[in-house]
Amino acid sequence: MDKFEEQIKAAQKAYEPKDTFIDATMQHIAAHHPRRRWSAKVWAPALAGVAVVALVLVALPISSRTIHSSNSNSTTTTASQTQPSTSTAQGSSNTTSHPSAGGTDNASLENDLGGVQHSMSQENNDQSSANSALNDQQNEIATPTS
Protein backbone atom coordinates (compact mmCIF):
# COMPACT_ATOMS: atom_id res chain seq x y z
CA MET A 1 0.00 0.00 0.00
CA ASP A 2 1.54 3.21 -1.06
CA LYS A 3 1.30 6.50 0.62
CA PHE A 4 -1.32 7.94 -1.63
CA GLU A 5 -3.65 4.97 -1.01
CA GLU A 6 -3.25 5.32 2.74
CA GLN A 7 -4.18 8.97 2.45
CA ILE A 8 -7.38 8.14 0.54
CA LYS A 9 -8.45 5.49 3.08
CA ALA A 10 -7.80 7.86 5.90
CA ALA A 11 -9.91 10.49 4.19
CA GLN A 12 -12.76 7.96 3.63
CA LYS A 13 -12.65 6.94 7.28
CA ALA A 14 -12.79 10.53 8.34
CA TYR A 15 -15.96 11.14 6.26
CA GLU A 16 -17.81 7.84 7.08
CA PRO A 17 -21.14 8.55 8.81
CA LYS A 18 -21.20 7.30 12.33
CA ASP A 19 -24.28 6.20 14.19
CA THR A 20 -22.84 6.29 17.60
CA PHE A 21 -25.91 4.82 19.34
CA ILE A 22 -26.16 1.78 17.05
CA ASP A 23 -22.45 1.32 17.08
CA ALA A 24 -22.40 1.48 20.85
CA THR A 25 -25.35 -0.94 21.15
CA MET A 26 -23.84 -3.39 18.70
CA GLN A 27 -20.52 -3.11 20.42
CA HIS A 28 -22.23 -3.72 23.77
CA ILE A 29 -24.11 -6.75 22.43
CA ALA A 30 -20.98 -8.02 20.80
CA ALA A 31 -19.06 -7.56 23.98
CA HIS A 32 -21.58 -8.90 26.53
CA HIS A 33 -24.06 -11.00 24.52
CA PRO A 34 -22.24 -12.47 21.53
CA ARG A 35 -25.17 -14.85 20.55
CA ARG A 36 -27.87 -12.19 20.74
CA ARG A 37 -26.18 -10.16 18.02
CA TRP A 38 -27.02 -12.81 15.43
CA SER A 39 -30.52 -13.47 16.79
CA ALA A 40 -31.39 -9.78 16.71
CA LYS A 41 -30.40 -9.61 13.05
CA VAL A 42 -32.77 -12.51 12.26
CA TRP A 43 -35.75 -11.82 14.49
CA ALA A 44 -36.04 -8.10 13.99
CA PRO A 45 -36.97 -8.31 10.30
CA ALA A 46 -39.12 -11.38 10.94
CA LEU A 47 -41.10 -9.55 13.59
CA ALA A 48 -41.48 -6.58 11.31
CA GLY A 49 -42.83 -8.90 8.59
CA VAL A 50 -45.29 -10.54 10.95
CA ALA A 51 -46.45 -7.11 12.03
CA VAL A 52 -47.08 -6.11 8.42
CA VAL A 53 -49.00 -9.33 7.70
CA ALA A 54 -51.06 -8.83 10.82
CA LEU A 55 -51.87 -5.31 9.78
CA VAL A 56 -52.96 -6.50 6.33
CA LEU A 57 -55.12 -9.23 7.82
CA VAL A 58 -56.79 -6.80 10.13
CA ALA A 59 -57.15 -4.04 7.54
CA LEU A 60 -58.70 -6.19 4.77
CA PRO A 61 -61.80 -7.34 6.66
CA ILE A 62 -62.38 -3.81 7.85
CA SER A 63 -62.19 -2.39 4.34
CA SER A 64 -64.42 -5.14 2.94
CA ARG A 65 -66.92 -4.45 5.68
CA THR A 66 -66.79 -0.79 4.80
CA ILE A 67 -67.39 -1.52 1.09
CA HIS A 68 -70.19 -3.91 1.89
CA SER A 69 -71.79 -1.46 4.23
CA SER A 70 -71.49 1.32 1.64
CA ASN A 71 -73.03 -0.96 -0.99
CA SER A 72 -75.84 -1.90 1.26
CA ASN A 73 -76.30 1.75 1.99
CA SER A 74 -76.47 2.59 -1.71
CA THR A 75 -78.86 -0.29 -2.29
CA THR A 76 -80.97 0.94 0.51
CA THR A 77 -80.86 4.39 -0.99
CA THR A 78 -81.88 3.09 -4.39
CA ALA A 79 -84.63 1.06 -2.87
CA SER A 80 -85.79 3.99 -0.86
CA GLN A 81 -85.74 6.09 -4.03
CA THR A 82 -87.61 3.46 -6.01
CA GLN A 83 -90.19 2.64 -3.45
CA PRO A 84 -91.80 6.04 -3.30
CA SER A 85 -92.16 6.17 -7.10
CA THR A 86 -93.68 2.72 -7.08
CA SER A 87 -95.98 3.64 -4.33
CA THR A 88 -96.79 6.86 -6.15
CA ALA A 89 -97.66 4.88 -9.28
CA GLN A 90 -99.76 2.50 -7.26
CA GLY A 91 -101.32 5.40 -5.54
CA SER A 92 -102.28 7.07 -8.77
CA SER A 93 -103.47 3.72 -10.02
CA ASN A 94 -105.71 3.38 -7.05
CA THR A 95 -106.96 6.88 -7.12
CA THR A 96 -107.27 7.42 -10.87
CA SER A 97 -107.89 3.91 -12.16
CA HIS A 98 -104.62 4.09 -14.08
CA PRO A 99 -103.27 0.55 -14.26
CA SER A 100 -99.62 0.15 -15.17
CA ALA A 101 -99.57 -3.64 -15.46
CA GLY A 102 -98.85 -5.08 -18.90
CA GLY A 103 -97.50 -1.81 -20.28
CA THR A 104 -100.90 -0.15 -20.45
CA ASP A 105 -99.90 2.98 -18.56
CA ASN A 106 -99.85 6.24 -20.47
CA ALA A 107 -96.09 6.29 -20.91
CA SER A 108 -96.01 2.76 -22.33
CA LEU A 109 -98.90 3.46 -24.67
CA GLU A 110 -97.25 6.64 -25.93
CA ASN A 111 -94.03 4.75 -26.40
CA ASP A 112 -95.83 2.14 -28.49
CA LEU A 113 -97.48 4.89 -30.50
CA GLY A 114 -94.06 6.40 -31.15
CA GLY A 115 -92.87 3.03 -32.42
CA VAL A 116 -95.79 2.92 -34.84
CA GLN A 117 -95.02 6.42 -36.05
CA HIS A 118 -91.38 5.51 -36.63
CA SER A 119 -92.40 2.50 -38.70
CA MET A 120 -94.83 4.66 -40.66
CA SER A 121 -92.08 7.08 -41.62
CA GLN A 122 -90.03 4.10 -42.81
CA GLU A 123 -93.00 2.97 -44.85
CA ASN A 124 -93.29 6.44 -46.40
CA ASN A 125 -89.66 6.29 -47.50
CA ASP A 126 -90.15 2.88 -49.04
CA GLN A 127 -93.33 4.05 -50.73
CA SER A 128 -91.35 6.84 -52.39
CA SER A 129 -88.81 4.30 -53.62
CA ALA A 130 -91.59 2.10 -54.95
CA ASN A 131 -93.12 5.08 -56.76
CA SER A 132 -89.76 5.86 -58.35
CA ALA A 133 -89.38 2.24 -59.44
CA LEU A 134 -92.84 2.29 -60.98
CA ASN A 135 -92.05 5.53 -62.80
CA ASP A 136 -88.88 3.92 -64.13
CA GLN A 137 -90.87 1.11 -65.74
CA GLN A 138 -90.77 3.04 -69.00
CA ASN A 139 -87.00 2.53 -69.07
CA GLU A 140 -87.66 -1.08 -69.98
CA ILE A 141 -89.15 -0.03 -73.32
CA ALA A 142 -85.85 1.48 -74.51
CA THR A 143 -84.87 -0.90 -77.27
CA PRO A 144 -81.19 -1.14 -78.06
CA THR A 145 -81.86 -2.80 -81.42
CA SER A 146 -82.30 0.33 -83.51
Binding site: L109, L113, A130, L134, P144
Partner: protein, 267 residues
Protein backbone atom coordinates in the same frame (compact mmCIF):
# COMPACT_ATOMS: atom_id res chain seq x y z
CA UNK B 1 -109.83 22.19 -155.52
CA UNK B 2 -111.14 18.64 -155.13
CA UNK B 3 -107.67 17.25 -155.78
CA UNK B 4 -106.14 19.51 -153.11
CA UNK B 5 -108.85 18.61 -150.61
CA UNK B 6 -108.36 14.86 -151.07
CA UNK B 7 -104.55 15.21 -150.74
CA UNK B 8 -104.93 17.08 -147.44
CA UNK B 9 -107.29 14.41 -146.08
CA UNK B 10 -104.80 11.70 -147.04
CA UNK B 11 -101.97 13.52 -145.26
CA UNK B 12 -104.03 13.98 -142.10
CA UNK B 13 -104.97 10.30 -141.98
CA UNK B 14 -101.33 9.30 -142.39
CA UNK B 15 -100.28 11.61 -139.53
CA UNK B 16 -103.07 10.40 -137.29
CA UNK B 17 -102.10 6.78 -137.89
CA UNK B 18 -98.47 7.58 -137.12
CA UNK B 19 -99.38 9.31 -133.87
CA UNK B 20 -101.70 6.47 -132.87
CA UNK B 21 -99.03 3.92 -133.65
CA UNK B 22 -96.50 5.79 -131.57
CA UNK B 23 -98.93 5.99 -128.67
CA UNK B 24 -99.60 2.25 -128.82
CA UNK B 25 -95.91 1.46 -128.87
CA UNK B 26 -95.23 3.86 -125.97
CA UNK B 27 -98.03 2.38 -123.88
CA UNK B 28 -96.79 -1.10 -124.52
CA UNK B 29 -93.29 -0.14 -123.47
CA UNK B 30 -94.58 1.63 -120.36
CA UNK B 31 -96.73 -1.33 -119.34
CA UNK B 32 -93.85 -3.69 -119.87
CA UNK B 33 -91.60 -1.54 -117.69
CA UNK B 34 -94.17 -1.35 -114.93
CA UNK B 35 -94.73 -5.08 -115.06
CA UNK B 36 -90.99 -5.70 -114.83
CA UNK B 37 -90.70 -3.30 -111.90
CA UNK B 38 -93.55 -5.02 -110.06
CA UNK B 39 -92.03 -8.42 -110.68
CA UNK B 40 -88.65 -7.21 -109.42
CA UNK B 41 -90.23 -5.74 -106.30
CA UNK B 42 -92.12 -8.96 -105.64
CA UNK B 43 -88.92 -10.92 -106.00
CA UNK B 44 -87.12 -8.64 -103.58
CA UNK B 45 -89.90 -8.87 -100.99
CA UNK B 46 -90.05 -12.62 -101.26
CA UNK B 47 -86.35 -13.10 -100.75
CA UNK B 48 -85.46 -10.41 -98.15
CA UNK B 49 -84.01 -12.88 -95.64
CA UNK B 50 -81.98 -14.55 -98.29
CA UNK B 51 -80.50 -11.42 -99.67
CA UNK B 52 -76.76 -11.41 -99.56
CA UNK B 53 -75.35 -7.93 -99.37
CA UNK B 54 -72.44 -7.74 -101.64
CA UNK B 55 -71.75 -4.08 -102.02
CA UNK B 56 -69.10 -2.48 -99.83
CA UNK B 57 -71.55 0.32 -98.88
CA UNK B 58 -74.06 -2.22 -97.53
CA UNK B 59 -71.36 -4.06 -95.57
CA UNK B 60 -70.29 -0.79 -93.99
CA UNK B 61 -73.89 0.01 -92.97
CA UNK B 62 -74.35 -3.43 -91.41
CA UNK B 63 -71.11 -3.23 -89.46
CA UNK B 64 -72.08 0.15 -88.07
CA UNK B 65 -75.52 -1.14 -87.15
CA UNK B 66 -74.03 -4.16 -85.39
CA UNK B 67 -71.60 -1.95 -83.49
CA UNK B 68 -74.43 0.34 -82.41
CA UNK B 69 -76.41 -2.58 -81.05
CA UNK B 70 -73.40 -3.90 -79.16
CA UNK B 71 -72.67 -0.49 -77.67
CA UNK B 72 -76.25 0.25 -76.66
CA UNK B 73 -76.77 -3.29 -75.46
CA UNK B 74 -73.76 -3.07 -73.18
CA UNK B 75 -74.96 0.26 -71.85
CA UNK B 76 -78.39 -1.16 -71.12
CA UNK B 77 -76.94 -4.18 -69.36
CA UNK B 78 -74.62 -2.03 -67.25
CA UNK B 79 -77.50 0.25 -66.32
CA UNK B 80 -79.52 -2.74 -65.19
CA UNK B 81 -76.61 -4.21 -63.24
CA UNK B 82 -76.20 -0.90 -61.39
CA UNK B 83 -79.91 -0.87 -60.56
CA UNK B 84 -79.75 -4.47 -59.37
CA UNK B 85 -76.74 -3.69 -57.16
CA UNK B 86 -78.72 -0.89 -55.59
CA UNK B 87 -81.65 -3.26 -55.05
CA UNK B 88 -79.35 -5.76 -53.34
CA UNK B 89 -78.28 -3.11 -50.85
CA UNK B 90 -81.89 -2.12 -50.21
CA UNK B 91 -82.97 -5.71 -49.66
CA UNK B 92 -80.03 -6.48 -47.36
CA UNK B 93 -80.56 -3.33 -45.32
CA UNK B 94 -84.33 -3.67 -45.05
CA UNK B 95 -85.39 -4.24 -41.46
CA UNK B 96 -89.07 -4.82 -42.05
CA UNK B 97 -88.82 -7.31 -44.91
CA UNK B 98 -89.77 -10.72 -43.58
CA UNK B 99 -87.13 -13.44 -43.86
CA UNK B 100 -88.93 -15.35 -46.59
CA UNK B 101 -89.44 -12.32 -48.84
CA UNK B 102 -85.89 -11.20 -48.24
CA UNK B 103 -84.56 -14.59 -49.34
CA UNK B 104 -86.83 -14.69 -52.41
CA UNK B 105 -85.98 -11.18 -53.58
CA UNK B 106 -82.26 -11.59 -52.92
CA UNK B 107 -82.19 -14.81 -54.94
CA UNK B 108 -84.14 -13.23 -57.79
CA UNK B 109 -81.88 -10.20 -57.99
CA UNK B 110 -78.79 -12.38 -57.81
CA UNK B 111 -80.05 -14.69 -60.58
CA UNK B 112 -80.93 -11.70 -62.75
CA UNK B 113 -77.46 -10.24 -62.31
CA UNK B 114 -75.68 -13.44 -63.25
CA UNK B 115 -78.02 -13.89 -66.22
CA UNK B 116 -77.37 -10.40 -67.51
CA UNK B 117 -73.63 -10.85 -67.07
CA UNK B 118 -73.76 -13.99 -69.21
CA UNK B 119 -75.97 -12.21 -71.73
CA UNK B 120 -73.42 -9.43 -72.00
CA UNK B 121 -70.74 -11.93 -73.00
CA UNK B 122 -73.13 -13.50 -75.48
CA UNK B 123 -74.01 -10.11 -76.96
CA UNK B 124 -70.39 -9.10 -77.33
CA UNK B 125 -69.63 -12.37 -79.09
CA UNK B 126 -72.32 -11.67 -81.73
CA UNK B 127 -70.92 -11.54 -85.26
CA UNK B 128 -74.18 -11.15 -87.16
CA UNK B 129 -76.83 -8.50 -86.99
CA UNK B 130 -79.53 -11.07 -86.29
CA UNK B 131 -77.64 -12.60 -83.35
CA UNK B 132 -76.94 -9.18 -81.84
CA UNK B 133 -80.58 -8.14 -82.16
CA UNK B 134 -81.74 -11.37 -80.51
CA UNK B 135 -79.36 -10.91 -77.59
CA UNK B 136 -80.34 -7.25 -77.21
CA UNK B 137 -84.01 -8.16 -77.10
CA UNK B 138 -83.27 -10.70 -74.36
CA UNK B 139 -82.09 -7.84 -72.15
CA UNK B 140 -85.65 -6.83 -71.52
CA UNK B 141 -87.77 -9.83 -72.54
CA UNK B 142 -85.89 -12.27 -70.32
CA UNK B 143 -85.21 -10.14 -67.27
CA UNK B 144 -87.68 -7.23 -67.04
CA UNK B 145 -85.50 -5.40 -64.56
CA UNK B 146 -87.33 -2.09 -64.83
CA UNK B 147 -90.76 -3.36 -65.75
CA UNK B 148 -91.02 -5.94 -63.01
CA UNK B 149 -88.05 -6.67 -60.72
CA UNK B 150 -87.37 -3.18 -59.36
CA UNK B 151 -91.04 -2.25 -58.81
CA UNK B 152 -91.66 -5.66 -57.27
CA UNK B 153 -88.89 -5.17 -54.70
CA UNK B 154 -90.26 -1.73 -53.85
CA UNK B 155 -93.86 -2.88 -53.56
CA UNK B 156 -93.03 -5.96 -51.46
CA UNK B 157 -90.99 -3.76 -49.13
CA UNK B 158 -93.94 -1.42 -48.66
CA UNK B 159 -96.31 -4.36 -48.13
CA UNK B 160 -93.99 -5.81 -45.47
CA UNK B 161 -93.55 -2.38 -43.86
CA UNK B 162 -97.28 -2.12 -43.61
CA UNK B 163 -97.61 -5.57 -42.10
CA UNK B 164 -95.04 -4.68 -39.45
CA UNK B 165 -97.00 -1.53 -38.63
CA UNK B 166 -100.25 -3.46 -38.55
CA UNK B 167 -98.73 -5.93 -36.07
CA UNK B 168 -97.69 -3.03 -33.85
CA UNK B 169 -101.12 -1.44 -34.11
CA UNK B 170 -102.77 -4.77 -33.24
CA UNK B 171 -100.61 -5.11 -30.13
CA UNK B 172 -101.34 -1.51 -29.20
CA UNK B 173 -105.08 -2.04 -29.72
CA UNK B 174 -104.98 -4.99 -27.31
CA UNK B 175 -103.29 -2.85 -24.68
CA UNK B 176 -105.81 -0.08 -25.24
CA UNK B 177 -108.59 -2.62 -24.87
CA UNK B 178 -107.15 -3.77 -21.53
CA UNK B 179 -106.75 -0.22 -20.32
CA UNK B 180 -110.23 0.84 -21.37
CA UNK B 181 -111.71 -2.18 -19.62
CA UNK B 182 -109.87 -1.19 -16.44
CA UNK B 183 -111.06 2.40 -16.73
CA UNK B 184 -114.61 1.27 -17.34
CA UNK B 185 -114.43 -1.01 -14.32
CA UNK B 186 -113.31 1.98 -12.32
CA UNK B 187 -116.50 3.75 -13.32
CA UNK B 188 -115.14 6.00 -16.07
CA UNK B 189 -117.11 6.81 -19.19
CA UNK B 190 -115.10 5.31 -22.01
CA UNK B 191 -117.85 4.89 -24.60
CA UNK B 192 -116.33 7.33 -27.09
CA UNK B 193 -112.89 5.83 -26.64
CA UNK B 194 -114.26 2.35 -27.20
CA UNK B 195 -115.85 3.55 -30.43
CA UNK B 196 -112.45 4.85 -31.52
CA UNK B 197 -110.93 1.50 -30.64
CA UNK B 198 -113.55 -0.32 -32.66
CA UNK B 199 -112.78 1.87 -35.66
CA UNK B 200 -109.07 1.34 -35.10
CA UNK B 201 -109.49 -2.43 -35.15
CA UNK B 202 -111.57 -2.28 -38.32
CA UNK B 203 -108.99 -0.10 -40.09
CA UNK B 204 -106.10 -2.34 -39.04
CA UNK B 205 -107.98 -5.41 -40.20
CA UNK B 206 -108.73 -3.85 -43.60
CA UNK B 207 -105.13 -2.76 -44.04
CA UNK B 208 -103.85 -6.20 -43.04
CA UNK B 209 -106.00 -7.86 -45.66
CA UNK B 210 -104.71 -5.59 -48.44
CA UNK B 211 -101.04 -5.71 -47.48
CA UNK B 212 -100.97 -9.48 -47.11
CA UNK B 213 -102.78 -9.94 -50.42
CA UNK B 214 -100.40 -7.63 -52.28
CA UNK B 215 -97.38 -9.36 -50.84
CA UNK B 216 -98.54 -12.86 -51.71
CA UNK B 217 -99.69 -11.80 -55.18
CA UNK B 218 -96.55 -10.13 -56.41
CA UNK B 219 -93.71 -11.91 -54.61
CA UNK B 220 -93.69 -14.80 -57.10
CA UNK B 221 -94.22 -12.80 -60.31
CA UNK B 222 -91.71 -13.60 -63.03
CA UNK B 223 -90.66 -11.82 -66.25
CA UNK B 224 -92.71 -14.33 -68.23
CA UNK B 225 -95.80 -13.21 -66.28
CA UNK B 226 -95.09 -9.63 -67.27
CA UNK B 227 -94.54 -10.66 -70.90
CA UNK B 228 -97.99 -12.25 -70.88
CA UNK B 229 -99.66 -9.33 -69.18
CA UNK B 230 -98.05 -5.90 -69.13
CA UNK B 231 -100.71 -4.63 -66.72
CA UNK B 232 -99.77 -7.10 -64.04
CA UNK B 233 -98.66 -4.42 -61.56
CA UNK B 234 -101.32 -1.89 -62.44
CA UNK B 235 -103.41 -1.05 -59.40
CA UNK B 236 -101.08 -2.72 -56.89
CA UNK B 237 -99.65 0.56 -55.70
CA UNK B 238 -103.13 2.02 -55.40
CA UNK B 239 -104.07 -0.89 -53.12
CA UNK B 240 -101.06 -0.24 -50.93
CA UNK B 241 -102.02 3.42 -50.73
CA UNK B 242 -105.49 2.39 -49.57
CA UNK B 243 -103.91 0.23 -46.87
CA UNK B 244 -101.71 3.18 -45.93
CA UNK B 245 -104.78 5.38 -45.54
CA UNK B 246 -106.30 2.77 -43.24
CA UNK B 247 -103.10 2.64 -41.21
CA UNK B 248 -103.03 6.41 -40.85
CA UNK B 249 -106.63 6.36 -39.68
CA UNK B 250 -105.90 3.60 -37.16
CA UNK B 251 -102.92 5.55 -35.89
CA UNK B 252 -105.16 8.60 -35.47
CA UNK B 253 -107.66 6.52 -33.51
CA UNK B 254 -104.90 5.23 -31.22
CA UNK B 255 -103.66 8.76 -30.68
CA UNK B 256 -107.16 9.95 -29.78
CA UNK B 257 -107.66 7.07 -27.37
CA UNK B 258 -104.39 7.75 -25.56
CA UNK B 259 -105.23 11.44 -25.31
CA UNK B 260 -108.64 10.47 -23.94
CA UNK B 261 -107.08 8.18 -21.38
CA UNK B 262 -104.83 11.02 -20.26
CA UNK B 263 -107.80 13.25 -19.75
CA UNK B 264 -109.54 10.49 -17.79
CA UNK B 265 -106.64 10.55 -15.38
CA UNK B 266 -107.25 14.17 -14.50
CA UNK B 267 -110.91 13.65 -13.64
Amino acid sequence: MKIHYSKKVGTLRARALTVFGAAVVSSALLLTGMANAAALKANLNASTTGVVVNTSADISVNTTHLQNILTKGNQEIERRLATLNSLTSKITGATKLNASDKATLSAEVSTTMSGLTSLKAQLNASTTLAAAIASAQDIYTQYRVYALVAPKVGLVKVADDQQAIEAKLTALAQKLQTRLAAEQQAGKNVAALKADLSDMNAKVSAAQSISANVESTIIDLQPSDYNSNHSILVGVNAQLKTAHTDIVAAYGDAKNIIAGLKSLKSL
